[in-house]
Each structure stands twice: as structure tokens, then as C-alpha cells.
Symmetry: C2
Subunit: 359 residues, 2 copies
């Protein structure tokens, strides 16, 4: 796996102990879909997100009861906690008071006097604030000026609000300019990245259910990250957010930006395939799910591309009729019967990972 990404150098902020921007790796975020007032359910979901590799989590704080819950949630989780605030500046103050490591505000729906109160309190605690511009809630004057939530309208909103925060003496800030339209989103971040060096949080908003969200986010973030734009990402899925994390790592792994988790390459089982590759792929994928070590694992169904591809992988099986060849770093290790493919491969994977940890 190679990369040819030159990430744009941005300022950095720290959300608790997690650095975003500067020379930090691209950070993966998510957001709970539980009722934040339900401490037990929210904590459980955050722990599931942590297990998948989520690095920063955001929770909705629609009322004071939700803000009060943060105190209890914060003590039970390991990753930094961000409060998502809309409409009421007081909720931001309560969230910070109750331990939020960062807050996300949508300045389009909080008045300037409220923002000043948030800034004042955030200064005391050095709470990172994301100015989260969203195509669905742009200021009316900008919608009028640009005739709709265009990329330039999103960028102007972000920069106006950033200037307001900087004038008020605050710069522990990251920015986002999300749109549900992939091309608008790409153009907005590209323009914003040219005009500021504050760290950028990438996301396609309202991206739909898992597969739609994966496609839209992969296209949008792929293009931007390839241009060096983006310091933290969130894949938004309608449904359980735990599934967002695998997609996010998949994008970063495909780009060669972060080598975390197994990279399984497997051929599309054409009419030449002589083994049950779908079954093998599912079995191996399930067994290595959650593995954090980067390994390129090749599962090849035929002799045409199999040996060549498997030789490029850390480990692989090239299957023939009822048997296969197990490769490790290009060297044939042994001949394996088809029914022993998964077990043999998984045993080898576990010893490779164990060896790495020893050295």
C-alpha cells in the first residue's frame, strides 16, 4: 500500500488528549444516536464506538437534562466527548461545565450575544469549538446573496463566524462546511482550505443509509483527502453509528493515509473461480473484524490473477480445484485443502500479528 498524499499543514487543536490538525493523523469521529438523557444507553453506544476505533464522539444536547448527563457519561468513557449544540447558548455553557471536551455549534441558529457568552466560558476551560456550518441552516442573508446554499455561501458563513470568534479573542477552533450534495461539499472545503489554515472537519451531511453514506463519503472525502484537505472526518450514517467507523477506516486505508485494520483483497468470483470464495471471504472478514493491525490479506479464487496478487500481499491464498497455495510475503508456505483455508489462514494471521508485537 502506498500513498501520494501531501496533507495541507493546518493549525492544531487538542480535544482533551486528541490532536486534530497540525501533523496529527486524520482523526475519526462519530456521533451517538441515543437519547443523551439516557446515560446507560449513550455510554454503551460510546463504548461500542470506542471498540470499533472511534477516536472522538459527539452527543446531541437538546436540553438541560441532556447537558447534565454529560457529567455521568464523561466518567465512563475513554475518548473525548463533544456536545452538539443548537439554538440555546446556555446549553453550551452547561455542557462545558459538565465536562464536554469540545462543543459543536451551528452559529446559524445561535445569536451573536449568545456566542460571546460561549466564547467567554470556553476560554476559561480551553474548550475546542467547532463552527459547524451546514447547508440546511445557513444564515438567511447568505442564502439570499448566493441564491441558495452554494459552496461560496457555506465558506462565507464559516469565515464570517471565524472572524467573529477571532475578534473575540478565541482560536481553539475547527471548521466544517457540510452539504448533502457531494460536489457542493467538495467545492466548499476546497475553497475554505485555500482561505484558512484552521483544522477542517470533513463530512457529507444527511448522507443516507449505510451504503449510500459509504459511497457519498468515500467519493467526497477521497477527493478532498487526496488533495491534502481534512484533519478529522465523520461518515454520517442513518442508523447505528457503529457502522460509520469501519467505513471511515476503509476510506483512510484505501488512501494509504492510516494503515489500521486488515485490507482484504478478494477477486470478484468470475466463472473461472474454482473455490467457494464468497464463503471464505465472509468467514475471514468476520474473524478479522475489529483487528487493529494492518495486514494485506489476499483471497483469490483462481490461477489467473491469484498467485500474482497474493504475492503482493502480506499473506494470501490462491485457490485451485479443492486445494490452495498459502503465501506469506511472496513465499509459498504450504499447500492447503479447501476446507482448511480459513482456519490455516487465520492461524497464520494471528502468528504474524503476534510476531510483530514481539519485535
Amino acid at each position: 500500500m502506498k500513498t501520494c498524499i501531501h496533507r495541507k499543514k493546518t493549525r492544531s487543536v487538542f480535544i482533551d488528549n486528541v490532536q486534530i490538525g497540525g501533523n496529527a493523523p486524520v482523526v475519526i469521529q462519530s456521533m451517538t444516536c441515543t437519547d443523551t438523557r439516557d446515560v446507560k444507553a449513550t455510554t454503551l453506544q460510546i463504548k461500542q464506538l470506542e471498540n470499533e476505533g472511534c477516536e472522538v464522539v459527539r452527543v446531541a444536547v437538546p436540553d438541560e437534562e441532556a447537558a447534565a448527563s454529560l457529567l455521568h457519561i464523561k466518567h465512563k468513557i475513554k475518548i473525548p466527548l463533544i456536545a452538539d449544540i443548537h439554538f440555546h447558548y446556555r446549553l453550551a455553557l452547561s455542557a462545558i461545565k459538565n465536562g464536554a471536551d469540545g462543543i459543536r455549534i451551528n452559529p446559524g441558529n445561535i445569536g451573536r450575544s449568545g456566542l460571546l457568552k460561549i466564547i467567554e466560558y470556553a476560554k476559561e476551560r480551553q474548550t475546542v469549538i467547532r463552527i459547524g456550518i451546514n447547508s440546511g441552516s445557513l444564515e438567511k442573508n447568505l442564502l439570499k446573496k448566493y441564491g441558495g446554499p452554494t459552496a461560496s455561501a457555506l465558506v462565507e458563513s464559516a469565515l464570517n463566524n471565524l472572524a467573529f470568534f477571532q475578534e473575540a479573542g478565541y482560536d481553539a477552533i475547527k471548521l466544517s462546511v457540510k452539504s448533502s450534495d457531494v460536489i457542493t461539499m467538495i467545492e466548499a472545503y476546497r475553497e475554505l482550505s485555500k482561505k484558512t489554515d484552521f483544522p477542517l472537519h470533513l463530512g457529507v451531511t444527511e448522507a443516507g443509509s449505510l451504503m449510500n453514506a459509504a459511497i457519498k463519503s468515500s467519493v467526497a472525502m477521497g477527493i478532498l483527502l487526496h488533495e491534502g484537505i481534512g484533519d478529522t472526518i465523520r461518515v454520517s450514517v442513518t442508523g447505528n453509528p457503529v457502522s460509520e467507523i469501519g467505513v471511515a477506516y476503509g476510506i483512510l486505508r484505501a488512501m494509504g493515509i492510516r494503515k489500521i485494520g486488515p485490507d482484504i483483497i478478494s477477486c470478484p468470483t468470475c466463472g473461472r473461480c474454482e473455490i467457494d470464495l464468497c464463503k471464505l471471504t465472509q468467514e475471514v472478514e468476520n474473524k478479522v473484524a475489529g483487528m487493529k493491525e494492518y495486514l494485506k490479506i489476499a483471497l483469490m479464487g483462481c490461477v489467473v490473477n491469484g498467485p500474482g496478487e497474493a504475492a503482493e500481499a502480506d499473506i494470501g491464498i490462491a485457490g485451485g480445484r479443492g486445494y490452495g497455495l498459502l503465501f506469506k510475503k511472496g513465499q509459498v508456505i504450504k499447500k492447503v485443502k479447501e476446507k482448511e483455508f480459513a482456519e490455516t489462514l487465520l492461524n497464520e494471521i494471528h502468528s504474524m500479528v503476534a510476531e510483530r508485537k514481539e519485535t
Copy 2:
């Protein structure tokens, strides 16, 4: 939905009646995973692919019996049929004789004298040939020269073979330089596109199971198509190829390249969500699956971004507590009870589509 793609102008070829390259839309291809000798199973899978919107289909032709099947398959399907040939040039001749509209060869495993025989016969029938270079089966001298299947090695192989075909007087050709490594694949197509104007078939090879393949293909094709590179695409999935088509359309829709099928935007059900949005999204997605009309449908769970986003969509629901507002092109049509969301929305969608067809 907008686009900012300026597609690179390429030569065009016709696979039966489907134009690839030139000013044609980006064409969506797939490949069966059935045994091509099983005419019934292969025809059934091709019909399923056609129903999903597949525009060109490829089948493996590993032996003469498979080549003979093409005659029977070809008569039962509507879309152009391509034969995938490895090792034996005679299989290409048989496939063309039996009605293949195009063939894909991997010149790395067919000798030059065999290629000349293929060219001679293809000339008579004007059969389009894809020179399909693959990182897993590059010529040994190139692997040695470049130290592995690098982007430049893939491109040199494609151009060498293209020159051989052109010297032999044949140019009904498209090219592919597939790699299982996303960045290598991107670099290879980018370099190839600079050096030739023959139409390009994009694909990440051995991309894995559905979600992995969707992520890798979306990243890779997203970046290339955004740069104007690519005339036809195939998303390779380990598993039923029918699932490839939705991903391919999803990529093109996200890029604003082809407006086919419903674009569902739905918010990520945060703690503010007051309706069962997951259920609604699943229900609506299932009901509109297979719809070919482009419509932007917004399913929003709360009052924060809902009304704004839904106003941008062709039609949408912004849900509150137990009720929602149905929008059409930014205008509120009616207030709807939560349990009637899906039915009301689907009825409206069907009348919108019917109205469009009348005008």
C-alpha cells in the same frame, strides 16, 4: 445536484449499440459469477443485472464449452456481451464467432502470435477489444524493470500492447490498468490518460466484499472521474455482481455525472431525532429501489436541519413529534401523521414521476 466535471475527450468505440468514450455517458459494466457453461444460470444473472441498470456484461470464457454457450446466451439478453479471455487465443476466436460483442484479453498471458490471430478475426467482425492490464499478471520484464506492479509498469504494459495492436492495424480498443491498490490504480489511469486518448475502463481489481469494494471503488473512481478520466466503470465485488450496479450508479450520482435513480438524503438520527427515521429510510429505500427516475428525496428526523434540507430536495419529509411536514420543491404540501409518512411520500413520488413522463 450539480457537477463540475469536464470529461476528457476520448475516441469512441461501439460495443454493439453501446457507445463508450467520445461524448457518451459513463457506461456501467459488470461481470457474471456463474459458470458460463450453465446457460440458464448465466442468462438469469444477466437479466437481473439488466434490471438493475447494467449496460454491458462480461462473462468468463475459460474453455470451448463456455465459448459455445455465448451463442445461446446472446439471444436471450438485451445488453452487449463481452467475453473474458485468458491464456488461449482460440477461445477469443470462438467467442467472437458465437456472438460476443466485445472481448477482454489480458495480453500478459496470451502470446503475440495468438494476439495477431485475434486481431485478424476481430477486424472482420469489428469486435471491440479491451486490453485489460492487471497488476496480478504483468509481463515479467516489466515487473523486473519497475521492481513490481507499479503504476508506470501498468501504463507501459498498456501502451506497449496498444502499439502492437495499432501496428497490426486495429484500433477498436479500450484500455484498463487495474490494481488492487487504490493509489496505484489512480496513478496508473492518470498517467495513461495523459498518454493516450483511447477510451478507459476504470476498475479497482480484487476490491473485496460489497462494503470494501464500494469504499475502494468510490474513492478511486471518484478521484479519477472528478479529473475527467474514465469512460466506463466496473465495481468489482466478491459476491453477487447484481449489487455492483447500485454502487456504480451511486458513485455517478454522487459526482453529478449521471442522474439516474433516487438520491435519498437522510440525517444521521442524532439524539434530537423524534421520529423512527431508520425505519422510514429503510422502507422508502426498499420501495424506490430499482426506480430509474432521478429524484432527490429528503428524510429528515428533526427540526434543526430538516426544513432547510428538505427545501433543497424535490420532495421531503421533515419530521417532528409524531407528525411531519411534506415538502415538494420547497413548498409545504401538507402535514402528515408519522405512521403515514412512507405511504404519503411514496404516493407523491409516484405522481411526480408520472407527471414528468407526461410532460
